[in-house]
């Protein structure tokens, strides 16, 4: 027993203490935690729904690619406008995202290379260009490469306050306001275009035969993805890919219709956020990584549960009723 405690101490794993493990993470810095949870949910839910479409289009890693390739867009936009404000950064990201998409389409259209290879070529090159620019103009670019790569959800409560106030919690941090605007915009667009997205994802040839411009839908989706990714970058960094892929991948075990897939993916995004922030606060590790980790564990558990349900013949959850 003593030996085990010694090992745990060496690994810096705290000994189980219900108060310390379950409650303290939420009460210690309650105000800050509220902003972190809100931010995680405002990023996680739009990412989850967007990720569903990406996965159905077999572009699950498009988010990962875009999250890397927006870097040169951010740097160039900064060099032009000398401003790290929201609009120039969003604009730079959107242009970079569309350039990425155009390059991927160009490579797959004009060569024998398939989409995955074209993606790999495009995003690594653009990311390298971004790193090159950051370092070449390091003196003039106040972009924190570490922050872009890994994100700092913990900084959200400390960020510059916006003009808005939220009762006893005081001023709303600017990133939360930006994320809320992004979430409303993204969910609105997904709702308005839901059936166009559905039909172009399921059967692009048919969609085009009735006159829907599947190519325009594709580019629109990539533009929205770029904005979502750059909004998330500061808080969760490149792990935005996890927010895009994991909730939908978890939800598809239990959903056979789009509505349910979206609903469950949103729920799983929220539960992963809560579990991750809890884990981060308890073990004092980066919350973004903890959220991604929680999402991954959640996926594994959900897979197990779905296999068990099917084994027991519980078709209600997995089967046609969905």
């Amino acid at each position: 027993m003593n030996e085990m405690i010694a090992v745990m101490a060496r690994l810096e794993v705290p000994w189980f203490d219900a108060e310390e493990v379950l409650i303290a993470p939420w009460t210690r810095y309650a105000d800050a935690t509220v902003w972190m949870v809100l931010m995680a949910v405002l990023l996680g839910v739009p990412c989850a729904l967007l990720g569903n479409y990406l996965m159905l289009r077999r572009m699950a890693l498009a988010g990962d690619a875009i999250s890397h390739s927006v870097l040169p867009g951010l740097v160039i936009s900064y060099l032009i406008f000398r401003d790290l404000g929201t609009l120039p950064m969003m604009g730079g990201a959107m242009v970079a995202g569309l350039v990425t998409t155009v390059l991927i389409e160009f490579i797959t259209g004009r060569s024998r290379l398939k989409t995955d290879a074209a993606m790999g070529i495009t995003y690594t090159t653009l990311f390298a260009l971004g790193m090159f620019l950051v370092n070449r103009y390091a003196g003039r670019v106040h972009l924190d490469a570490d922050c872009v790569l890994f994100g700092e959800l913990e900084y959200v409560p400390l960020a510059e306050p916006s003009g808005l106030r939220a009762g006893g919690l005081g001023p709303v941090p600017m990133p939360v306001v930006v994320a809320a605007a992004m979430a409303v915009g993204t969910l609105g667009l997904l709702a308005v275009f839901s059936r166009w997205l559905l039909v172009t994802s399921f059967d692009a040839g048919f969609a085009r035969s009735v006159g829907i411009r599947a190519g325009a839908v594709h580019y629109g989706l990539m533009a929205v993805l770029s904005v979502v990714v750059v909004t998330a970058l500061e808080s969760v960094g490149l792990l935005v890919a996890a927010l895009l892929v994991l909730p939908g991948a978890t939800a598809q075990f239990f959903a056979r219709r789009m509505g349910r897939l979206h609903g469950l993916a949103a729920v799983f995004a929220v539960t992963a956020s809560l579990a991750g922030i809890h884990l981060g606060a308890w073990l004092n590790c980066p919350s973004a990584a903890a959220i991604a980790l929680a999402g991954g564990v959640q996926f594994g558990v959900a897979w197990g549960v779905s296999v068990w349900m099917r084994g027991r013949g519980v078709e209600g959850g997995v089967g046609g009723a969905g």
């Binding site: 059936r195 559905l198 399921f202 040839g205 048919f206 085009r208 009735v210 789009m258 897939l261």
Partner: protein, 263 residues
């Protein structure tokens, strides 16, 4: 019918259509005209460009030179009158939708996909499913369907488009005999109501029985016209090359079948 087609422009017409994949030409200068009210099969060996012709007609592939008209107009002007049935294997049947969702995609065309499905859309979708005897499967998840059922769902989606001209890419591939029979009856029903069907078809033995016109294709147009004139040993040989005995036997059998039907 003949007087009708004299007055009206052909349901489908293309002139000098060429298509290339990756700079390799697959179709050269195709000239085809299909009058309204016909059941037309596109026949030819593998790699002859049969599906390509349909995709080019629907504007899904870039056409080099030439033009395509439906009812005498460019496709964009008459899109609601034209339905396209892609190859069944071109989509992911694990997609999270049920049979009803797929058929609803056909209701109201582009504009219909802009709004939520209405009660009228659902009624139309149910009627279309009934026509292919798939109504009992309306709530089935599409991954639970057999190949023949998948094909019938695709047909129901096209029927929900209430079109006058249907392009079908291999509607008989991978379906059981009963389904094949049901589909043929359905297509004949559409023709009886003045509809036109252009379908890619693989099986030479059934082609003269199912269709009243054929397009013989092998990268170039070999021949196109009524089955009686075009489905001959000589032209089939030109389409498929070599293998003389099989082809002449087929043509002979087709002639006998027609004689029996009193054509």
């Amino acid at each position: 019918m003949e007087t009708n087609s004299d007055r009206e422009p052909p349901a489908f017409e293309c002139h000098d259509v060429s298509v290339s994949y990756d700079r390799k030409p697959v179709l050269y200068g195709i000239d085809v005209s299909v009058p309204g009210g016909s059941l037309c099969g596109i026949v030819g060996p593998n790699g002859a460009g049969k599906s390509t012709l349909i995709k080019a007609a629907m504007g899904l592939l870039p056409v080099e030179g030439g033009w395509v008209r439906m009812f005498g107009r460019p496709l964009d002007e008459v899109r609601p009158r034209v339905a396209y049935v892609p190859q069944r294997t071109s989509v992911d049947w694990d997609f999270p939708v049920n049979v009803m969702d797929v058929v609803l995609m056909g209701c109201g065309g582009k504009a219909g996909l802009w709004r939520r499905p209405t009660a009228a859309d659902r009624e139309l979708a149910r009627e279309s499913l009934e026509m292919v005897q798939m109504l009992p499967y309306a709530d089935r998840q599409i991954s639970q369907l057999s190949g023949g059922q998948q094909q019938r769902v695709f047909l129901a989606r096209a029927l929900a488009q209430r079109a006058d001209l249907y392009f079908m890419d291999e509607p008989f591939t991978g379906v059981d005999a009963a389904t094949e029979r049901a589909i043929v009856t359905l297509l004949e029903g559409l023709r009886a109501k003045g509809g036109t069907i252009v379908a890619v078809h693989h099986d030479l033995t059934t082609a003269p029985e199912y269709f009243d016109r054929v397009i013989l294709l092998n990268m170039r147009l070999v021949a196109a016209g009524p089955v009686e004139e075009v489905f001959t040993a000589e032209l089939l040989q030109k389409t498929y090359g070599g293998r003389l005995t099989v082809l002449s036997e087929l043509a002979l059998r087709a002639q006998e079948a027609r004689a029996r039907r009193g054509v």
